[in-house]
């Protein structure tokens, strides 16, 4: 059986004053039902652009320059906008970092959840209200009947994020794309939302594409992890392998620069330098100028994701020994 979501050689560019910048460079991955894939990386690595491109939500200056995004075997890149409207909020739903800017401030929660039910499931009136109450209850909002008539500004950030999740679940999606879903939240609320997402994902058998910069959140939620750097995927493995037996020098560097709450780290080992600007990427491997394991060939040949073990792949000429 083909995977639910298959991203194949996806390339995304943004038109800027400095010309077209390639934010996502030939990225491929697959995601099955019931599985969580964590896309991680620092600002500008292209992780959010992948999600936006996959669901046809790129801003006006963004364009898909190549590749395919197959959802259930249908190519979303080639799909007309009208069909895409049925997919978004239907088969595929998305939640974002900041619920307050994603929710509509002038409509009640009931109206906003009802909109999805009306458009995608043909529910209206009392039936829509009843279903909205069930959804709010499902995501742990107490007193859902009263909340239905409330507006986003009346709720806390955590409550709004729960409402966003309820809205995303309204049409029984099979794919949920979550872009930094807990980043704006305080740590205890973040943990509550992580638990809720994990529980829902398991119960509904959702395919969850989780985008985050927080390696802790990924370790909590993802079955598999893909690490991005400057638009390219540089390592992908199961969570256990990525955190336990990472091979790419960038992945190692990221983990070594993390202070830990569960243990005392003597000295953080930061990665030298900064992420390159997309308009002026180094030749060959883009991590080369910051890499402690750099070889002469790294400047000439772009490393591609090579199959190592079946599930653990790295794009590096001189990986950390296993």
């Amino acid at each position: 059986m083909p995977p639910l979501l298959e991203v194949d050689e996806l390339t995304v560019g943004f038109a800027t004053e400095a010309g077209t910048l390639v934010a996502v460079d030939r990225v491929s991955f697959a995601l099955d039902a019931g599985e969580t894939l964590g896309l991680v990386g620092e600002s500008g690595c292209g992780k959010s652009a992948i999600c936006l491109a996959a669901l046809g939500l790129l801003p006006p200056n963004g364009r898909i320059l190549g590749g395919r995004v197959l959802l259930d075997g249908r190519d979303l890149v080639a799909m007309p906008e009208a069909d895409l409207d049925k997919v978004r909020g239907g088969t595929a739903a998305m939640i974002f970092q900041d619920p307050l800017t994603s929710l509509n401030p002038v409509h009640s929660l009931g109206w906003q959840i009802g909109e999805a039910l009306r458009l995608h499931r043909g529910l209206a009136g009392a039936a829509a209200d009843a279903e909205a109450v069930r959804l709010l209850d499902r995501v742990g909002i107490t007193d859902p009947k009263r909340r239905l008539r409330e507006y986003p500004h009346q709720l806390s950030g955590g409550m709004n994020q729960r409402a966003m999740i309820a809205m995303a679940l309204a049409c029984k999606p099979r794919l949920l794309v979550a872009d930094e879903p807990t980043t704006a939240l305080d740590v205890i609320i973040q943990a509550q939302i992580i638990d809720l997402l994990v529980e829902i994902q398991r119960e509904e058998g959702l395919a969850l594409l989780l985008v985050t910069h927080d390696l802790g959140v990924v370790a909590e939620m993802a079955d598999r992890v893909a690490v991005m750097y400057a638009g390219r995927m540089i390592e992908t493995a199961t969570s256990a392998d990525l955190f336990g037996r990472h091979r790419h020098p960038y992945t190692s560097g990221l983990l070594a620069s993390l202070p830990r709450v569960d243990q005392r780290v003597k000295r953080l080992a930061p990665i030298d330098g900064t992420v390159p600007w997309l308009g002026d990427l180094p030749s060959g491997c883009t991590f080369r100028p910051r890499c402690p394991r750099v070889l002469a060939s790294c400047a000439e040949i772009v490393p591609v994701l090579a199959p190592e073990a079946a599930s653990h792949r790295i794009a590096c000429h001189n990986p950390v020994p296993a």
Binding site: D186, I188, Q192, H213, L215, A219, F243, S257, R260, V261
Partner: protein, 323 residues
């Protein structure tokens, strides 16, 4: 040891005025006491709205307390005239979360770093320039950046400028409010290491305010945990993180996601969300969410008491030896 800054029962209330409804009082800081010793890095942690940033502003003298005392080097800030306050500022500097907001967009960074010396009338212009360049080297900024403007630098470099500017005056205390929260992981580690090195070199104390418990564990020697305007626990770092006593501290630490899939889901989370500081619960403020709450917690506010094992904890159940 001498305290650089000492807070005694500090209270700070804010009034929210409304057009139709009666005005409300926010009890942002409600009876906070602690002291930061010379050369120490002291952490202040808690969730949004717990009052940690307000404490930082009280220590800087940017806000006057509604009650209680803030003493810097033994002097009550409330007793100082504007001129005396300005002199004191040399010894108490600040580093904020967003460096771009803290820097002047129209002034080359070399001038911004040296400006503090001029304000306090220190040295000749040539001396000030030399010291600014020396400090740029100490924070890892190349001297050729001195004529650049803030927007020409990366976020990490901008934060280094802010740090250089704060430390050039050789302050006794630096209030760092979320100094690395806006930075990406790899750059965050560079700045954290830099802050630690500079403290060793210049011997200043840090009041390090952050919601990021991992960073605080790494950089601070002692840590205070705040909840709804009050301190609930103070302890040395390893004590606090390995043997948290207060139920809120336990919840907070267990909620932090750890980059290790083998440790997944080991949490004991309190229900719900913190109540509004306009109307904090009576008794212990944490009691409505606390799994250990008993009748006494509902009407009697617990005092911060030493537990005999190096922690100071505000919890009846801990004081009674029940947890």
């Amino acid at each position: 040891m001498n305290a650089v800054v000492e807070l005694t029962d500090v209270v700070r209330h804010f009034r929210i005025k409304r057009f139709l409804a009666p005005s409300q009082q926010v009890r942002a800081v409600d009876g906070v006491s602690f002291a930061v010793e010379e050369g120490e890095s002291f952490g202040l942690v808690g969730e949004s709205g717990c009052g940690k940033t307000t404490v930082g502003r009280l220590v800087l003298g940017m806000l006057a307390p509604t009650g209680g005392q803030v003493r810097v080097d033994g002097t009550d800030l409330a007793s100082l005239s504007t001129g005396e306050m300005r002199k004191l500022r040399r010894h108490v500097q600040m580093i904020y979360q967003d460096p771009l907001n803290a820097l002047d967009p129209r002034m080359p960074i070399g001038d911004q770093i040296a400006e503090g010396l001029a304000v306090h009338g220190i040295g000749t212009e040539a001396e000030r320039k030399a010291r600014a360049l020396g400090m740029m080297g100490a924070v890892g900024l190349s001297a050729r950046l001195a004529d650049r403007y803030p927007h020409e630098l990366s976020g990490g470099q901008q934060q280094r400028v802010v740090i250089a500017r704060a430390l050039l005056l050789e302050p006794r205390l630096v209030v760092c409010d979320e100094p690395v929260s806006a930075l990406d992981v790899s750059v965050q580690a560079q700045v954290v290491n830099l802050l630690a090195e500079l403290q060793q070199r210049y011997g200043c104390a840090y009041l390090f305010i952050s919601h990021n418990l991992a960073v605080v564990r790494h950089i601070c020697r002692r840590i205070a945990v705040m909840y709804l305007g009050a301190v609930v626990e103070i302890a040395e770092r390893d004590e606090l993180f390995e043997r948290p006593r207060h139920p809120y501290t336990r919840a907070l630490i267990s909620a932090v996601p750890v980059p290790d899939p083998a440790r997944r889901g080991r949490r004991s989370l309190p229900k719900g969300e913190p109540p509004s500081p306009t109307n904090p619960p009576a008794g212990c403020r944490f009691h409505p969410r606390c799994a250990f709450a008993v009748e006494r917690c509902r009407h009697e506010a617990p005092k911060l008491l030493p537990d005999g094992e190096g922690h100071v904890v505000a919890c009846h159940r801990v004081a009674e030896g029940e947890i």
